[in-house]
């Protein structure tokens, strides 16, 4: 059995292995993902982002439990930062999800960003597809808590949740300029602390300035995730949002947009490989010298090299 077949037969180790293969950008990973394609598209993908320590993992834990109570299976992908200096990482999101470990309806995978900016890892979208094909009804993606650059989450999730907490004060104004627009649901977690109402109001005010999703008004929900308080309200809004996407036709648009982006990535990466394979190294080296000697300019030299490739492709 190959890995794709193992995933489809419900083999957990197969799922884990395939995700590793995707992470190491192994050529076979794309072949296996290709085989899974027709089995994907059933999961509701939920993205969770927000500043470090705001309670994202604690919320994921509570949401997963609530979904399990509704008889839904849950896949979780939790991303933590990789050190740019050593390439190492400590992936600690599971600390908040210990109770979920032995539930056969849950699969959790931790990932390091491995140099990818934007709060996710390059392998995250592949891992989502594997879990989707594996049959997870809900897939939750937790980004790193970077504060600013996690907007990438929107192109991977159907429903994007932003977790804030009281006491960040002025930071909200400055950090969140680009983040506000991507939130479908806002959570003010740690509302056992002082200032939750103030934070809610600030977000409300900022959303008022930004009415770019006329048919969906992003709700702002106060939670105490550690005690599970407010989680039911979040679940309700998640379901409402999914329904809204389906009813409004947004869902189809999102899927198509996602496919366009993926196709673009695939074309570029495959083209890159083709170019590497067929470019004439000798000619390239000669051209470098010529450019140094000012006999030719880089633009014209590139045209010359590409002309070769065009000829080869049309052969």
């Amino acid at each position: 059995m190959d890995l794709a077949e193992r995933v489809l037969s419900g083999d957990k180790r197969g799922v884990a292995r395939l995700i590793s293969l995707i992470e190491s950008e192994d050529e076979d990973a794309y072949v296996q993902l290709g085989k899974l394609h027709s089995h994907t598209g059933n999961a509701h993908i939920i993205g969770i982002t927000g500043p470090p320590g705001s309670g994202k993992s604690t919320i994921v834990d509570k949401l997963a439990k609530a979904f399990r109570g509704m008889d839904k299976t849950v896949g979780i992908i939790a991303v933590d930062p990789t050190s740019p200096f050593t390439g190492g990482a400590i992936l600690g999101d599971r600390i908040r999800m210990t109770d979920l470990t032995l539930d056969p309806g849950i699969f959790i995978r931790s990932m390091g960003t491995r140099g990818h900016l934007g709060g996710l890892s390059r392998a995250a979208s592949g891992a989502v597809r594997v879990m989707d094909a594996y049959g997870m009804d809900i897939i939750i993606l937790e980004t790193v808590g970077a504060g600013q650059s996690e907007v990438e989450i929107v192109s991977h999730a159907h429903t994007t949740i932003i977790v804030e907490m009281p006491g960040l004060g002025d930071e909200i104004q400055t950090i969140k300029a680009g983040i506000m627009e991507i939130g479908d649901i806002f959570i003010i977690n740690k509302s056992d602390r002082e200032g939750a109402d103030k934070t809610s109001m600030e977000i409300q005010a900022m959303l008022g300035l930004n009415p770019n999703k006329p048919e969906w008004v992003p709700p702002i929900i106060q939670t105490i995730a550690r005690k599970g308080k407010g989680v039911d309200a979040v679940i309700e809004k998640i379901e409402d949002h999914y329904q809204y996407l389906k009813d409004s036709g947004m869902y189809e648009k999102m899927i198509e947009q996602g496919i366009r982006e993926e196709l673009d990535v695939q074309i570029k990466s495959q083209l890159g490989r083709i170019i590497k394979n067929i470019i004439n190294e000798e000619k390239l080296e000669d051209l470098v010298k010529d450019i140094v000697d000012k006999n030719i300019d880089p633009h014209t030299a590139a045209r010359l090299l590409l002309k070769d490739i065009e000829d080869k492709l049309s052969e």
Binding site: A16, S24, G87, I90, R94, R109
Partner: protein, 134 residues
């Protein structure tokens, strides 16, 4: 093509409430370029094995200070075997008396790092057995 990065689960089975040592080891391994999955206190052997599977780790480092290592460590290796897994390196650390080591090795613990083991030894061992994280 990039290579596989070595992933190590650092887990604390048992009831003792100290994870300072485990965290220090986790950080040292991270700084050596490994991807470390850290799951916190009070993990049962069942949870440790399940986590190791989902995270597809190359190695598990068990840390136990409560004195229950003679039951908890072998339980982890037994559960791994029951699930048909023989390619994950298992090491132990914490307060393990010298005389317990042979029995633990017998039970499938590949290496025991006693108190005071230099961090570099732990890093070297994993580099050697699993390949470097880089």
């Amino acid at each position: 093509m990039s290579e596989r990065k070595t992933r190590i689960l650092i887990a604390k089975p048992g009831l003792d409430g100290h994870d300072r040592g485990a965290k220090i080891v986790a950080r040292a391994l991270r700084d050596a370029g490994f991807e470390v999955i850290y799951t916190g206190l009070h993990q049962t052997p069942e949870q440790i094995v399940e986590t190791a599977i989902q995270e597809d780790v190359d190695a598990i480092g068990l840390s136990c200070l409560s004195g229950a290592h003679m039951t908890l460590f072998p339980k982890v290796t037994r559960l791994l075997k029951e699930r048909g897994i023989d390619d994950i390196l298992v090491t132990g650390g914490g307060i393990v008396p010298e005389e317990d080591i042979p029995a633990l090795k017998e039970a499938g613990i590949d290496k025991v790092f006693g108190p005071g083991t230099p961090l570099q030894d732990i890093i070297d061992y994993h580099n050697d057995k699993c390949g470097t994280g880089k």
